[in-house]
Symmetry: C2
Subunit: 217 residues, 2 copies
Amino acid sequence: MLGEQKKKERAIPVSVIKRLPIYYRYLTILLSREVERISSRELAAKLGLTASQIRQDLSYFGNFGQRGYGYRVKELQKTIGEILGLNNNMQLVLVGAGNLGRAIVNYPNFSKRGFYFKAIFDNNEEVIGEFIGGIKVLHLDDLAGYLEENEIDIGVIATPPEAAAEIAHQLVRGGVKGIWNFAPVSLNLDKEVIVENVHISESLLTLSFRIKEKYGD
Amino acid sequence: MLGEQKKKERAIPVSVIKRLPIYYRYLTILLSREVERISSRELAAKLGLTASQIRQDLSYFGNFGQRGYGYRVKELQKTIGEILGLNNNMQLVLVGAGNLGRAIVNYPNFSKRGFYFKAIFDNNEEVIGEFIGGIKVLHLDDLAGYLEENEIDIGVIATPPEAAAEIAHQLVRGGVKGIWNFAPVSLNLDKEVIVENVHISESLLTLSFRIKEKYGD
């Protein structure tokens, strides 16, 4: 019973989780400027949220504010950092060694944050054997065997859309806990696997819509 | 007065706008499967939202549902497509011709959806003069002059973080309406300019957090 209750208390909506890195990043900026306190209203204005939403979000993680005095930046940043697990130790494989895949592997600071790319897979003979960010590109046919022999936490998909579903299934069969998907498709997977999508075209459509709203066609 | 009222009615929260492409994509899949109606509950389960949130979101765009019968997929998809402006005519420039920039320019279907890359800028002598996706890479020093002579709607930033702020200001001075930012920094810009960020590292941190929530450290 107690265990269940504890579990219930820890349940945090995904929408809140998704905002944590945004809070974390901005709080880190504030810290570097030696700001000690910030009100929910200021945070809201800065992050494009409402003050009540911020108060509600942060209430999941403890009591960092005092009415009228704002949040204590340092404690809040530290706690969110711990929640986000900035001392991660996650092993990743990348599938798809095109431009996007290369950009992901070479993205700054992933290893500093504890995300380690262990292997890269592609089916294009021209790139197999090449080194990207110090990691050798292997043949896609070796993915299943690799996953059997190595414990991988996250599979990253940066393939053309038509290949993504099959690769996602291979990653799941290979035991990954999460999939980071850059391919513009919806992956219908076993609910046990956590999927995080980076919807690039959807982001551009959102921007376009907001421009039209403001400036007309 | 009437004009103001009309404007007020059209105001749609950014959070809702951001979900439209997700609705659109899924409705398009449903259409291809010849699904005629879908309930808010089914949509919710599929998209990881709540049924009441979906009903509230879609209520901004007209009456597509009938209690107990679900939404009419075809009409809803068409309307959202029109709202998203899938017949866009947006002119873009890209700054930053690294792997990420190359991936963006070569991303499938942007031109089909009316997004046209007109020029690419970089300050790396080694890539200047190169063609990416059929477009010549120009020197960053020519950006200001280019923007003066050409009407550009969207500036895309795919540079290292330390360069992003200065480039954003140049784009704003050059008259772009929107900035699509892939650099991992917050851009503090004039409110007139619409900024859409693709937060790649934040997405990975979210995934990592969700994995830890589920599987423990």
